[in-house]
C-alpha cells in the first residue's frame, strides 16, 4: 500500500471514481484539427455509411486521449503517465446533434513502489469500446 497524491491510500483492488465525458461532432472536429487525423469517417456521415459504418464514429485515439485525461487527473498531471495502451474493440458512435457518453472507470491492478498500474474501463451507450486498457503511472 502506498500513499499516492498526498492523501489517498491506494492498494491493489482500489476502485477509482467513475467519470463521464461527453462526445459530440464538434469535439470530433476539434480533435481532427488538433491531431491531424482528418479521416472523413470521423466527420462525414455519408462517407461513414458508404464504408459500412453505422454512423460517424469517434477517433479511437480521441477515446484513448479522454481516458488518458481521466488517468492524468487522478495521477496528478500529464507527466505522470509512463505506459498507456488499449485495444479498440467497438467504435464510439456519434450521431449528428447528440452528445454521447464515454464512461470511464479504473481499478488499481498493481502497486510497485511509486509505480501504479491501472486497469481501465471505457464504455459508450453501455457498450465496451476499449479492451485490455491499462496505464502505468508514477509520481
Amino acid at each position: 500500500m502506498v500513499n499516492f497524491g498526498g492523501a489517498r491510500m491506494i492498494e491493489v483492488g482500489t476502485v477509482l471514481p467513475e467519470r463521464v465525458f461527453e462526445i459530440d461532432r464538434e469535439l470530433l472536429v476539434a480533435y481532427a484539427n488538433a491531431s491531424g487525423d482528418d479521416n472523413p469517417i470521423h466527420q462525414n456521415e455519408e462517407f461513414a455509411l458508404s464504408v459500412g459504418l453505422p454512423n460517424v464514429i469517434a477517433h479511437g485515439m480521441l477515446t484513448m486521449a479522454l481516458v488518458g485525461k481521466y488517468v492524468t487527473d487522478w495521477a496528478g498531471g500529464s507527466a505522470s503517465v509512463k505506459e498507456f495502451g488499449a485495444r479498440f474493440v467497438k467504435p464510439v458512435i456519434v450521431p449528428a446533434g447528440q452528445k454521447v457518453d464515454l464512461t470511464v472507470s479504473a481499478t488499481v491492478a498493481e502497486v510497485d513502489g511509486d509505480r501504479i498500474s491501472l486497469t481501465l474501463s471505457a464504455t459508450s451507450a453501455g457498450v465496451k469500446v476499449l479492451g485490455m486498457a491499462k496505464a502505468v503511472v508514477q509520481k
Binding site: 480521441l62 486521449a65 500529464s78 495502451g85 488499449a86
Partner: protein, 129 residues
C-alpha cells in the same frame, strides 16, 4: 498488399519535427486539460501519425492507408513532450499477417530527440479486405 520484404525493417522519417506550444495547447484544449507545460500522454500521435503514414504508404512498404482501421495502440513514455522539443521518427514493421483477407500489421514507432528515445509506440493496423 504490404511489401513482405519490409517486415522486420526499420524506416526513418525524413523530417525533424519541432513541437510548438500552440500544438500542445490545442490538443490539451480538446481534452479540457488546462495544464500545458507538458503534452498530454497521447500527444505523440500528432507527430507519429503523419510520419508513419508517409513511411507506411510509401512505395517501400506499400500499405493501403485508405482502408486502414486502428486495432490497438500502446505508448511507453520515457519523459513527457514539451514545446520546443524536436523529434525524428522511425517506424519498424514488427509483424504482418493476413487473416480472412484483412492485412494485420504491427508497427513500432520511436520518437527520438537527438539520440534520446523519448516515446515508443506500438500500433496494430488493420487493412480491411
Amino acid at each position: 498488399m504490404l511489401n513482405p520484404d519490409s517486415v522486420g525493417r526499420t524506416f526513418k522519417g525524413a523530417e525533424t519535427i519541432t513541437v510548438s506550444q500552440s500544438q500542445i495547447d490545442s490538443f490539451a484544449s480538446v481534452l479540457g486539460e488546462t495544464q500545458t507545460d507538458v503534452a498530454p500522454p497521447t500527444f505523440s500521435i500528432r507527430i507519429t501519425l503523419d510520419q508513419m503514414q508517409k513511411i507506411l504508404s510509401g512505395s517501400e512498404v506499400n500499405l493501403d492507408w485508405s482502408r486502414l482501421v486502428h486495432g490497438d495502440q500502446r505508448f511507453e513514455i520515457n519523459r513527457p513532450i514539451k514545446a520546443g522539443n524536436s523529434f525524428t521518427c522511425s517506424s519498424t514493421i514488427e509483424s504482418y499477417r493476413v487473416a480472412a483477407g484483412n492485412e494485420i500489421v504491427s508497427v513500432r514507432g520511436d520518437l527520438f530527440s537527438g539520440n534520446e528515445l523519448v516515446v515508443s509506440t506500438w500500433s496494430t493496423l488493420v487493412v480491411r479486405a
